[in-house]
Amino acid sequence: MPKIADILWIIPLLPLAGAAINGFFGKSWPNSRVNAVGIGSVSLTFLAVLELVREFFKLPLAQTPIMKSFAPWLVAGSFRVDFNFWVDQLTIVMLLVVSGVGLLIHIYSTGYMAHEGGYYRFFCYMNLFMFFMLTLVMAGNLVLMFVGWEGVGLCSYLLIGFYFLRKSAIDAGKKAFITTRIGDVGFTIGILLAFWTFSSVDFGTIFMKVENSPVEAVGQIGVLTTIALLLLAGAIGKSAQLPLYVWLPDAMEGPTPVSALIHAATMVTAGVYMVARMHALYSHALTAMLVVATVGAVTAFYSATIGLVQTDIKKVLAYSTVSQLGYMFLGLGVGAYAAGIFHLMTHAFFKGLLFLAAGSVIHAMGGEQDMRKMGGLRKKIPVTYWTMFAATLAIAGVPLFSGFFSKEAILDAAKDGPHANLTLWVLGILGAMLTSFYMFRLLFLTFFGKQRYDEHKVHVHESPKNMLVPLVILAVLAIGGGWFALPTMIGGPDHFQNFLRPVFEAAPAGTAAVAEQANTEPVSPGAVLVRSLLAPGVIVALIGFLTAWWFYIRRPDVPKKLAQSVHGLYTLLLNKYYVDEFYLAVIVRPLLWISTNVLWHVVDENLIDGAVNGAGHTAREIGQQARQLQSGNTRSYAAWVIVGAVCVTVLVLGVWGMVR
């Protein structure tokens, strides 16, 4: 058996094959067979990844990262792009997350989508997404990464617009596509600039060259900073940060598994991954770092506030996703790359779980998404309840749950990391409080209190096995996913960060952060434990929980009063700060006007059409004159032939004669 490391391409290609098969033949197939192909391919991928991990751990550190080029792709002068893959610890983490969570969600979908039309289409898209995501993660150069980048964008567009009969769905799809595209423009330019600067798009070369170039301090905008910021633009678009976050909430139009896989667990974290992958660059462009951190923190807080008042269960989760992504950016921005990735992983677990659980709830409620029409579901759907509860604890950052470790790591780095920045830290803390508040609000509204739905209309029922199993597995992960860092509670090492160190130690900031993480001043483990239990994050989480409990269990009438008392603020939040309206007025409308009145009516109709028609017209005129030659009389043609013959003979023989 060949080593997976030698045939890395098999990993992304398996899902692609699945997609192709389902896409071409799935239409007439029964669901079971579609499942076999779809899930089969993904699970094979997962196994391949596991095998790869095994081999990877066997490798001596010297031989990592694995860099393999399989074929030249684009070769033009000095510009050369290969199909080359790059596998290091970071990639390993991403691979595990993507393929693992992906597999679980595929399984979940078999239950959730069972009665939907276009079943094969769904799985075809999902597999395609897996393909692109894996390409993105494993890519060894910027261009190949960009392929995956755009590919996942495409798949997300297709899947958001999965119910293409619903206009809202289609619009949401378009919105997602276009919004992210705005960021991608920056990304593309960034790539070109990178090539122009480093005369290569391969990570290896780029990193090497970056290492040898001086660090650009804050406020100093050099080429590295420019590249970093441009790439960041793409990341912001993809990972739904301010100001391009608007597409993500609408993306909830898609089926819930899609929201879970693409818009919570994997795709939206592509930006984070990209920044982490290019950490060398960012560590040398401190301005960019600052921007990253700021964007992250602000987004974290901002979208959390919106999350407070949303009533649609999936919308709440969407905004919480945005804010969690903000946390990741914050982590990256303050140089705690490992922490950021750590949060990425845990978030993949608990947010995926939350979405799936929400999906299960919606499934139970027969498609109802408004939390005000739920309540008291605790007894009806216990499994969903418990899993969701676990996820909520995790995201709220309750100690011993995965979210706690990652979030704490980020906040610590923000408080007293090398790039520490107190304002950002404060924003983070507040965000954390809001997070725990709205999450518990969601939990209480959904599962506690009295039923606010009509018993006879809605027949609440627990979801089938193939939906619950992934829930449970994810719940376990959501709880235990963070225990790599368990020792830190008593001042021990953080295994996750140690594992990632080879990747990030290149970055001075990263190492510093990690080092700082590793040896907080050596006091007794008990003290450390106490401190970590009394960390601000935990406290605010507690506050959030209590407020939520007070509002929605103890005194359910308070929220309304509050809403009336601070009515303006409430509506503002409810309407998401009127950002969409703002964009519509400021950007979309003018753009539309210009493209209609200028580009269309002036440029297209007069200039372009004019040119084209003109060309055609002239050609026709010439033809009109020339066709007179073609009299249709064979003898004339014969005569013409002779003319030609004479010309040739005179020419050839004449010239030949001259030569002789």
Binding site: R627, Q630, S631, G632, N633, T634, R635, I642
Partner: protein, 103 residues
């Protein structure tokens, strides 16, 4: 006995070819025009054989004559078939009546 100089043959072939060309332009009858083509081919063959003798040695020239003859046969077969069909449709042998293929 001494041979005929090669140039004589070549000149003859040139003349025949020219006559073929003229016939090709001046005849109105499809079939005759096809004949004119045959005439030209023959002229060429003569040139081939003459040159072959002039060069002596291996008879590559003959081989080409051979191929020319084959092609001529094929050409005659197809050409006449075409002529027959055309004549059937146009009820005329005069090429000047077959002037639909224009403008």
């Amino acid at each position: 006995m001494n041979a005929v100089p090669t140039s004589y043959f070549l000149i003859l072939s040139a003349i025949l070819f020219g006559l073929g060309v003229i016939a090709f332009v001046f005849k109105r009858n499809i079939i005759t025009i096809l004949m004119a083509i045959e005439l030209m081919l023959n002229a060429v063959n003569l040139a081939f054989v003459a040159f072959d003798r002039a060069n002596g040695g291996v008879h590559n020239g003959w081989v080409f004559v051979f191929f020319v003859i084959v092609v001529a046969a094929a050409e005659a077969a197809v050409g006449l078939a075409v002529a027959i069909t055309v004549i059937r449709n146009r009820q005329s042998l005069n090429v000047e009546d077959m002037n639909l293929l224009k403008f």
